[in-house]
Subunit: 257 residues, 2 copies
């Protein structure tokens, strides 16, 4: 009998989120599943790791046939604990999500969901982050399931280019039927933020971050374009952040010697 | 009289760290300086932002002629507060650091110092992260000062390619005289982690992350090679994480339609 592939599941919304339950349920058809996920919401934690504090790890009941752990740290901490402490090796696949909310464009950098997938790629594990463009805790994930199955089948069969993972974003259920799935690049955009100032009962200021995402990219090959036009987007993501195109210009500068 | 450029200084070691004092002192020769930095160490916070909690911001005394604020959030929160709440506009330059510890290779993704610079690049601000390969709180920064002056002069004069910032790493003082400054790419490597398990007084397990960086890159054009061979390294960094080279292959896959 062929050994079942070992699949690591994580997320950033925490182990009780409906999104990770959907993803875990789907993974049971593909292999043996281990879940290591934060014990509380860790959205927008980016690639943060915990170095100034200790970590707690608890075995929890989550779903029949699934080995599950909740962790006090970030999504990237969860991946590190899974690989180096629980599994003591590399799973055949890492899936992260399904995130409640989109991770298109530059949100790949803020996203704990995607940072877990990037950490997987750093470890040489084929890794995929899934996000649904719906923040509702009761979001409908039914139309995401066939996309998860399709992408996971392809990745398990064909692998991914070295040092890359996938960022998959799916429009919300009200946008179905989807037109399909498009391979995209990350759109150019930024967050125009503002801060809502409030006063605490002592009269001291505090601030809440708010922002509006500004899409500056007119291309029709971007993830933003895809999800706004009825497609799920798939962006291959790498962790080489070198701006290779800028190296030659910098080599014309006079430098301190 | 020509108006002085406005320079934003931040870091991830916190506003009291010697590294940010060195950097702030150097910046006073280049323009009007505003410091917005974390009120406590925020190392390895990556591109985390604070969305599930409020932020505090306090005006503090730091250095003559410098407007300074400490912030309860992450380095990226500091940049956002500076741009959208304090300055209400874009400074001419953002500098982050000098970090106590290196940020070479993939550490650019974990680093709060570099994430602040990347956030600056997202905002269209010429941005530079400086790191010294010495974790000692009493590290000697004297040999870093001419490198800061050289890189900042070049950036203020020539600008940076759109969507890029610089990651500057300097060997520790015991390695001087430096051979100079080399423009590099990010080295290929990963962290081989382990977790030290301890028991609390109640007998319950907790874990501390430890790791050894593994350099897998034989190139002599990398930041790891440069700092190990007596040079300061300068890597141009971008926030487009798309693995453009992987797109064509993904377009050969059969996808759910």
């Amino acid at each position: 009998m062929k050994e079942q592939p070992l699949i690591l599941v994580t997320n950033d919304d925490g182990i009780t989120a409906p999104g990770i339950r959907t993803l875990t349920q789907e993974m049971k058809a593909f292999g043996r599943v281990i879940v290591v996920a934060p014990d509380k919401p860790q959205s927008a934690m980016g690639h943060a790791i915990t170095i100034h504090d200790y970590l707690r790890l608890n075995k929890v009941e989550m779903m029949d046939g699934v080995e599950a752990y909740s962790c006090s740290g970030t999504p990237v901490d969860c991946v590190k604990l899974a690989v180096y402490h629980i599994i003591k090796g590399r799973p055949a696949l890492l899936v992260s999500g399904v995130n409640h909310g989109s991770n298109i464009s530059i949100n790949v950098l803020y996203s704990g969901t995607m940072s877990a997938a990037v950490e997987g790629a750093m470890e040489g594990i084929p890794s995929i982050g899934f996000s649904l463009m719906d923040h509702d805790v009761h979001a409908d994930f039914a139309h995401v399931q066939p996309i998860i199955r399709s992408v996971v089948s392809n990745v398990l069969e064909k692998g991914l280019a070295k040092g890359t993972c996938l960022n998959v974003n799916v429009p919300r259920a009200s946008e179905v039927p989807l037109k399909g799935l498009r391979v995209c690049r990350q759109a150019w955009g930024f967050w125009e933020d503002d801060f809502e100032a409030r006063k605490d009962p002592m009269g001291k200021d505090y601030f809440w971050l708010r922002g509006r995402f500004k899409d500056l990219d007119h291309g029709e090959d971007t993830d933003v374009w895809a999800v706004n036009n009825g497609y799920a987007s798939v962006v291959p993501v790498q962790f080489d952040m070198t701006a290779h195109h800028a190296i030659a210009e910098l080599n014309t500068w006079d430098h301190a010697r």
